[in-house]
């Protein structure tokens, strides 16, 4: 069942590629994509409906793959991965709907995104390190082509190359760490469940530390955290809106998910030992990311930097969950639950924001904040949706961001007081930067950039409105009534903190 969810998009992708090019119009390609994404989302909802939140890993499937090297095809979901699987399906559907207006090489575009969907879902359900690594690397490949092929001109190719090389080096560090784990295990295996049970690096001081360093750097590049974040702004700025939404909404989560799925349960001893360093990286990412975002003059680049800020909260929380002194099970559980909630929340809200920047670029051909003024007069719906998304992103209660950040702060303060107190200022700086952008672009005296013809500027169209509003609506539901999500995450979070504390 799970494998069907994962490979359905790839199967459709293959079918699209095999069909003769005249058999399918661009429009039909888009339709097929939406249908596939809808079907996949429906399957995930069905999985969620029959998911037992207290049942640990479910829908497991284990097939021999390269037994001589201890590699197997092992997939399954628990409360950590199921929300991310659902988030990915939802985001890909939103992007499919949003991309109905894409006109350039539509078939390859659709195929790439279908491929990326399989890769993303595969990563979140993978329970084998090599399987995880394969999907991790393939996501880089897929996104490289999206940015280079559909981004904004020559700069996009440079940004794509930088993105590829940087994150690829990160993935090599990750592979190194995985091999370190493999060699330490007896019998040698890459299976995450077996490795979790065995805890092969317990009491292996320096060696375990180096393995954590390799895995940590690999995941930190992908997340990204300061100082490994500089590939992110150009990649986002020059990617097409749909690519940015997937990059921020899904691909960044691969890094943070790696922390809760691999680094914490497989290396509990070193995680506890180096928790302070992790917390410092998290707090620095929060404040540094927010401050640098405040100084941006490019709307999309600004949102890219807020991603560094938002990911920083997650790192802070997972670090605090590894600090046993001063905390109890409740605070650590809150921190981990908040971290996973933040992954979902950031995907929804920042995904929507990036799609909205796509609308902005489509209308004005520029992201420069000071090129616009008083857009709300011309495009009231666009302004309203962007304002709601901005407030959601700055963590206003009623949206999922608050649910995540409140849990992160309350869960982390007890054990990491100073770092958390510093990180709390992040929500103030993000408030300042979003208000500044809203005031500059949407409010005030109406003035449009010269690039917009005399015909004026069009408001949100149906497909654009549907995709963004749907994402924000889910964020609103989580913000108002979060239990349906937290009921799934909390037991899994509890398991993780139990594994870290052993």
């Amino acid at each position: 069942m799970l494998s069907v969810v994962v490979f359905l998009p790839l199967a459709v992708c293959t079918a699209l590629l095999l069909l003769p090019s005249r058999a399918l119009s661009d429009r039909a390609c888009g339709r097929v994509w939406i249908a596939t994404a809808t079907a996949d989302l429906a399957l995930v909802i069905a999985l969620w409906a029959s998911f037992d939140s207290r049942g640990g890993l479910q829908y497991q499937q284990r097939v021999r793959w390269i037994p001589s090297a201890g590699v197997g095809y092992h997939v399954g979901v628990d409360g950590l991965s199921l929300p991310l699987v659902a988030l990915s399906c939802l985001l890909f559907l939103a992007v499919a709907v949003f991309s109905l207006r894409e006109r350039r090489r539509v078939r390859s575009y659709v195929c790439l995104f279908l491929f990326l969907q399989t890769v993303s879902l595969g990563l979140f359900v993978a329970l084998d390190l090599i399987l995880f690594f394969v999907f991790f690397d393939l996501s880089i490949v897929g996104m490289f082509f999206v940015i280079a092929g559909w981004g904004h001109g020559e700069r996009a190719r440079a940004a794509a190359l930088k993105f590829f090389l940087y994150t690829f080096i990160g993935s090599l560090a990750l592979l190194l760490g995985f091999i370190g784990l493999y060699l330490a295990a007896d019998p040698h295996t890459f299976d995450i469940v077996d490795l979790t049970r065995a805890d092969p690096l317990a009491g292996r001081g320096l060696y375990a530390g180096l393995v954590l360093l390799a895995i940590g750097v690999g995941l930190a590049v992908k997340t990204p955290t300061v100082p490994f974040h500089t590939w992110l702004p150009p990649a986002h700025t020059d990617a097409p809106a749909a690519g940015s939404a997937i990059l921020a909404g899904v691909l960044l989560k691969m890094g943070t998910y790696g922390f809760v799925r691999i680094a914490m349960p497989l290396l509990p001893g070193s995680w506890r030992r180096y928790a302070l360093a992790i917390v410092v990286v998290g707090a620095v990412s929060v404040v540094y990311g927010a401050l640098v975002a405040l100084a941006q003059t490019d709307f999309k680049r600004m949102i890219a930097y807020t991603s560094v800020n938002h990911m920083g909260y997650i790192i802070l929380a997972v670090g605090a969950a590894g600090t046993l002194a001063g905390s109890d099970a409740q605070t650590r559980s809150l921190a981990v639950t908040g971290a996973v909630t933040q992954m979902v929340s950031h995907g929804l809200i920042t995904g929507a924001l990036f799609l909205l920047t796509g609308v902005l670029y489509d209308r004005g051909r520029t992201y420069a904040i000071d090129a616009y003024s008083g857009l709300a007069a011309h495009t009231p719906r666009f302004a309203a949706v962007t304002a709601v998304a901005a407030f959601a992103s700055l963590g206003i209660p009623g949206f999922s961001g608050f649910i995540a950040e409140f849990q992160i702060f309350t869960g982390s303060l007890a054990s990491q007081t100073v770092a958390t107190a510093i990180a709390v200022t992040g929500i103030l700086i993000t408030a300042a930067l979003f208000l500044r952008a809203l005031r500059g672009m949407f409010l005030g005296v109406p003035r449009l950039p010269r690039t917009i013809a005399t015909r004026g500027i069009a408001d949100l169209k149906g497909s654009e409105a549907m995709s963004t509003v749907a994402l924000l609506a889910v964020a609103l539901v989580i913000g108002v009534a979060p239990r349906w999500l937290l009921d799934v995450i909390e037991p899994a979070g509890h398991t993780v903190i139990g594994l870290v504390a052993r």
Binding site: P227, H229, W231, L291, A377, P380, L413, T420, G444
Partner: protein
């Protein structure tokens, strides 16, 4: 099961109206009034029935709502003022405005306030508290085409959110202090030293929301919002929320021994300093705003000195008074297009209905007997005197100051209408020169309440209020205290009436300092709003040049290494391979030489070879 409708009626209607926007322009006022009326009914019922409700929220924490004595008074006050202001707004906002958005936001805002005053757990309180801040941003910046109004909204939101960070820290500290449920009534039991963090965080958030020192400046900026917004935000909600939180958390203030005096002194000093600021204003709405800060100061003073019932009485009386005054100022602003006091000379004579209400309101605000704020203030001062006589003295001085600014405002509007009055009008926008009909009922209803709510301070009702909020032992004012405060207020009012026409007998710099709200905003800019963006810009440059520079340099280093490797490869390894090849070729050439194809030469070679072999055999043997 009364609580869910109480919050969902305003929130639901508000959200629907916001979504509908202009398309709901026609039904919006009616729907909003109906929702506000229904909410008032629900609030009164809830105040009687005292319902409780809760739902699970986070691990070990619930989202709890309950109406107890304090909340009962608050929900009725909020609902009544909301209804009055919404009724008033139906006359203020014509078809040209986006009425769906305006009324929707007003209801959303009121709904957030209802949740704030009924929340029993910190997470839910914080949710409503911040949602209220966000909706206040949208309300203050309602006329978003004018950049200065939006900037004012930004200042208000960012200032209050800065203070709100305290509540986030308080929540974490409470959890660390062993209060896993985060129930408000359990907070005083937090283990020290976390108790101090909880208290400090909550106090900071409350002072920020209440525009107390040093946060007061945001209230001045918030005056750029529409008048009904000022009437709602700066009477029973928003600023009152901070006072409410301190009244609600007075056991916490008592548990952390330093907090009570700190809060009380902050309140007393705000009452005095912002009262002086109010005197210095020449803009009616600014005067009222400063007086709001000052009057809330009395509530904060009460909360800090344990006078919960007194503070609550002051809150209710002030809510009615101030909302009526803002509505009157708003009616004049709409009609005459100005809020400058000198230009408003004679406004009360021109629009007598509004003028009479304004007169009653200002006399109440002045603390003159037997109107409500006189008695309420004495309740507060009695609590302050029980705590510390210094507090009492400052409070009494603040009471005198409040009489001065109230009478100053009244003096201006009751002057005879100047002949060149028209010249001063329309400074803010084009006035309509008429007061709309729906204005009078809410204006008079609130004014009436303002006048008579003093009964709450009579011995009988006062003890009822004390039992309601659960502090029966609170001190009540003695006869001499009542007499003294009445005398002070009367004397100050008389003095102010006689000297209002002359400039104040203080140096110009002091007057300018007071008029500019004590330079608080400039201070905030100097300390925070200036350096932070500068730091941000510096970090952005650092990020580009250093962090990303390092990445680019390592990429460049990689390329350089590649070039070096290429040179090494071409000039070293490949050259060696070439040398081997050419050596082999040379050898081959040498080896080809004997292959001549001439038989006699082969014989000669064979002969030489044999000779060599024989020689070797001979030598070896």
């Amino acid at each position: 099961m009364l609580l869910w409708p109480l919050i969902s009626v305003p929130l639901g209607t508000g959200a629907a109206l916001c979504l509908a926007g202009r398309s709901a322009n026609r039904p919006a006022p009616l729907l909003a009034v109906a929702a506000a009326l229904a909410t008032l009914g629900l609030a009164v019922t809830a105040a009687v029935a005292r319902p409780e409700a809760s739902a699970p929220l986070f691990t070990g924490m619930r989202a709890g709502l309950a109406v107890d004595g304090l909340s009962a008074v608050m929900v009725i006050t909020v609902a009544a003022v909301t209804l009055g202001v919404v009724l008033f707004s139906t006359g203020e906002f014509g078809q040209g405005e986006n009425r769906g958005r305006f009324f929707g936001l007003m209801l959303l805002f009121a709904g957030a306030m209802f949740v704030t005053v009924t929340a029993t757990t910190l997470p839910l309180l914080l949710m409503a508290w911040e949602a209220m801040g966000a909706t206040s941003w949208a309300l203050i910046g309602y006329w978003w085409q004018q950049p200065e109004r939006v900037r004012a909204a930004d200042v208000a939101f960012l200032t209050t959110r800065t203070a709100d960070l305290g509540l986030y820290l308080a929540a974490g500290a409470a959890l660390a202090g062993g209060i896993g449920s985060l129930r408000l009534d359990a907070l005083p039991h937090a283990a020290p030293p976390w108790l101090n963090v909880v208290t400090a965080g909550a106090v900071a958030a409350a002072l920020g929301k209440s525009a107390q020192l040093p946060f007061s400046f945001w209230l001045s900026r918030a005056m750029l919002g529409p008048s009904p917004v000022s009437a709602l935000l700066h009477s029973a909600t928003m600023v009152a929320a901070g006072a409410y939180l301190l009244l609600r958390l007075h056991p916490l203030l008592a548990a952390a021994t330093w907090a009570g005096p700190l809060v009380a002194w902050t309140g007393a000093l705000t009452a005095l300093a912002l009262g002086i600021v109010a005197i210095a204003q020449s803009d009616l709405k600014q005067l009222l705003a400063a007086s709001t800060s000052a009057q809330i100061g009395f509530m904060v003073l009460a909360a800090g000195s344990g006078g919960v019932a007194g503070g609550l009485t002051q809150l209710v009386a002030h809510a009615a008074t101030k909302s009526a005054l803002f509505l009157a100022a708003g009616a004049w602003l709409t009609a005459l297009g100005t809020k400058q006091l000198p230009a408003l000379r004679g406004a009360a004579r021109r629009y007598r209905m509004v003028g009479a209400a304004f007169a009653v309101g200002t006399l109440t605000l002045a603390g003159l007997p037997p109107l409500s704020l006189w008695a309420a203030k004495d309740e507060v001062l009695a609590a302050a005197r029980a705590e510390n006589s210094g507090l009492y003295a400052v409070g009494l001085a603040a009471a005198a100051v409040s009489a001065v600014y109230s009478v100053k405002a009244l003096w201006y509007v009751t002057r005879p209408l100047p002949t060149d009055a028209e010249a001063g009008y329309d400074t803010e926008g084009h006035g309509t020169r008429r007061v709309p009909r729906p204005v009078s009922f809410p204006l008079w209803a609130l004014t009436g309440l303002a006048a008579v709510l003093g009964v709450l301070a009579l011995p009988g009702p006062a003890s009822w209020v004390r039992h309601l909020v659960g502090t029966p032992a609170e001190p009540s004012p003695t006869a001499w205290e009542l007499g003294l405060s009445a005398g002070v207020a009367l004397a100050a009012a008389t003095w102010a009436w006689r000297y209002s026409s002359r400039p104040a007998p203080v140096p110009g710099a002091v007057a300018r300092w007071a008029k500019g709200w004590l330079g608080l905003e400039r201070g905030a800019r100097l300390l925070v709003a200036g350096p932070v963006p500068a730091l941000a810009r510096a970090l952005a440059v650092f990020d580009d040049r250093v962090v990303d520079g390092a990445v680019r340099q390592s990429a460049r280093a990689g390329l350089a290494a590649a070039r070096f490797a290429r040179r090494l490869d071409d000039g070293g390894i490949d050259a060696a391979v070439g040398a081997v090849a050419s050596g082999a070729r040379g050898l081959g050439r040498w080896a080809r030489r004997p292959q001549t194809g001439l038989v006699h030469q082969y014989y000669a070679q064979a002969a030489v070879g044999f000779c060599a072999l024989i020689l070797i055999v001979l030598l070896v043997r």
